[in-house]
Symmetry: C2
Subunit: 436 residues, 2 copies
């Protein structure tokens, strides 16, 4: 029986899950792969912690370089995260001719172009299914199942913490603060939740997806990012009355001008969009291809075993290549490396979509006329308007839905409206997708 | 630039879609594959039909054997369907050392074991992603993305015609007959819809999925099959009142006794199950793995371009193998061929689930007592009962939901109840999944 040897860097949640699958499902893996996957070394700074796994003698080490320098190890699974030590270890492993599996979306989003170039030079693969969407086979679906399709767009719920919080706000009416505390108590949200809440984690994932969808260099800086911390109960309630849910969506579209429109922001989507029914910490992504139409994948976007399952899938893909004496059978970024190019980004200012706007105005005659006058000056047509008697800090909320309008005009109009004496706080804006 | 040569058997809907993708998306495919896919020959009995494709000279032929005997062709895409000519052509192509891509679920379900054995002997692959679920990458997800998982169960909506009809009945209250006519008018349903309506098409697909999920020989005959032709408006209305939708589900589970519980029948599922929201001709499948939990795939389960996209995905997978000088990198049935075994089926009699039952009874005193007495004798506990005043043919309907019960006992009880003088027609039964 042939044998492929594995090393794991980091026995945190996902690293531990990978070791569990390698030990517990070893006979299953052998019967599918026709070879054994042997866990040769695992590195972690904490070797005392009880992880519920009976590691074989000599597997555990506190020196991560023992893993990347082990001449017998074929595939290194980097599950440390972050952009410092993890990067150094990956570079060393590549330099030693080892293939890489990583869940490190932050590192790939910021330095992926360099890493993929290095891997190509050394003739090794970097696999990254666990970096986006946990157990959902997003990377494989785009790269392999939709290989004959021009990808038109991708829309996804890619952060479990944000979706958990928005679901709590929507379905239980709790406050943002309480929802976040519950997410932290349940282990979804980090102690410092900024990366999740402000949309950056989602943007890291979107940068990777945009790249493999369109054959583009990874470009995190061109993604427009807006988090969910300003969403409030009034927005959710009004959205619900109009048949919408508010989700933090990662959106990427290939525009008519051959640019990439990639953005992360709270988005109102109609109930008829299946993403609107994705609740709690679950993730889902809709991929549109020119042949397939829409495909949706749905599942656990994070967590020990789902993410570990994706890492095992990548590991076995590489193992199959190794057993056949080949490498990088499927191009890492979906297109052959010499076809990957810089693709310009469409700035958020240039998008054209539907908008929800909430104004907070003093209850005086003529307010609506002033607001709608400014909107009209900017070619923004109002689809519906709703004003309630409910006062907050002496002001009344005015809710509006617009027809399709240009972002640049919307921003100019909102800025002018905010400068009116009768407007008490900065207007809230949520973009709408899938309306008409 | 390297070249892989393709032959298509049958230019029906899917075959035409494949040719379209090969011509229209050729540059895209080359930039991903690093080689060209050349359409060398297409066979169809009707060469006069305008398919909107400018075929290159010499590509079209009315002799299918010209395709399978062409020494230059590497991969044959069988898109004829049926179990006679298609089988002969596939066997001849295998014999000539060609790899096969097929959408022919009926053939694989009935004779797949023989075909996969022949292919293994000749060292070629049979790929069949387009045979199940159209564009959804079900086969790839089970075989590759969930390779480290024991598959626990699969539940899916795998027939667009049935789902279209059930959606019409549920959402628009039309009659079964009218819904079927509309499905035929829209091109979903065949002129003879028996294969769809009676569940056989779904069973063909389930036979394939059960095999790759558990490493089992394909065994169509062991699947319990019940179609949707007996579902009526009262069932749908009552289900709705109780928070359920009725869907034709394909279900396969690996039981504690290491048997396969595979069945196709109308199933009541709670609104909270995402499959309940899958409407119209769309398909969806939920796969449960021991590591990933539930993954759902959702998309067009049929149609020209979605199914063609799946065929192209398989073709490129084989092309990548050929370009690397290897074959059958991923075992066709997910497990190495020498691990595929006969796995016993759990007979439907032995399942234990929740039930919905509708009785049609004369409006007389003591009827409910007689019915519930017989159910009690068979250890069937009633969860809720609902009797209406609405009469049909002098009888009133009685609706019941049971707690978990044994199928054999349910069937015995229903048979006894039907023999009562007060029961006018055979009771209707719908199994419930995902209740508790």
């Amino acid at each position: 029986m042939k044998e492929i040897k594995i090393g794991i860097l980091g026995l945190g949640t996902v690293g531990t899950g990978i070791a569990k699958i390698l030990y517990d499902n070893a006979p299953l893996i052998t019967s599918r792969l026709g070879a054994t996957l042997t866990l040769k070394k695992c590195a972690d700074i904490d070797l005392q912690k009880n992880r519920g796994i009976q590691f074989e003698d000599g597997v555990l080490t506190s020196d991560a370089y023992e893993v990347v320098n082990d001449p017998e190890i074929d595939i290194v699974l980097e599950m440390i995260g972050g952009e410092t030590i993890a990067k150094d270890l990956i570079l060393k492993a590549i330099d030693n001719g080892k293939h890489i599996v990583t869940a490190n979306k932050a590192l790939l989003a910021s330095q992926g172009n360099m890493l993929f170039k290095k891997a190509t030079e050394k003739g090794v693969s970097i696999a990254f299914e666990p970096s986006v969407g946990g157990c959902m086979p997003i990377i494989k679906t785009i790269r392999e199942s939709l290989v004959g399709n021009h990808i038109v767009s991708i829309s996804g719920i890619l952060n479990g913490t944000c979706n958990y919080i928005l679901s709590k706000l929507t379905n239980e009416g709790v406050s943002f603060k309480d929802a976040l505390s519950e997410a932290q108590a349940e282990g979804f949200a980090e102690a410092d939740p900024t990366l999740d809440i402000e949309g950056f984690d989602t943007a890291h994932k979107l940068a990777i997806l945009s790249s493999i969808a369109y054959g583009a260099e990874i470009n995190l800086n061109d993604i427009y990012v807006e988090g969910i911390s300003n969403i409030n109960a009034m927005d959710i309630e009004f959205a619900n009355q109009c048949g919408y849910r508010i989700k933090l969506l990662a959106i990427t579209k290939f525009t008519k001008n051959a640019a990439i429109d990639a953005r992360v922001h709270p988005t109102m989507i109609p109930f008829s969009n299946p993403l609107s029914n994705v609740n709690g910490s679950l993730n889902a992504v809709t991929i549109s291809g020119d042949a397939v139409g829409d495909i949706m994948l749905y599942g656990h976007g994070a967590g020990m075993m789902p993410t570990a399952s994706a890492a095992i899938s990548d590991t076995i893909d590489i193992a199959r290549d190794l057993l056949n004496g080949i490498h990088t059978r499927v191009p890492m970024l979906s297109f052959k490396m010499d076809r990957i190019k810089k693709i310009p980004a469409q700035p958020i200012d240039e998008i054209s979509t539907y908008y929800y706007i909430r104004f907070s105005a003093l209850d005086q005659p003529g307010v609506l006329s002033k607001i709608s006058g400014i909107l009209g000056d900017h070619d923004i047509s109002i689809k519906s308007v709703h004003q309630t008697e409910r006062k907050s800090n002496g002001a009344v909320p005015i809710f509006m839905l617009t027809h399709q309008a240009k972002e640049a005009e919307i921003q100019k109009a909102l800025s002018k409206i905010f400068s009116l004496d009768v407007i008490t706080v900065s207007p809230s804006l949520i973009r709408i997708e899938g309306s008409n």
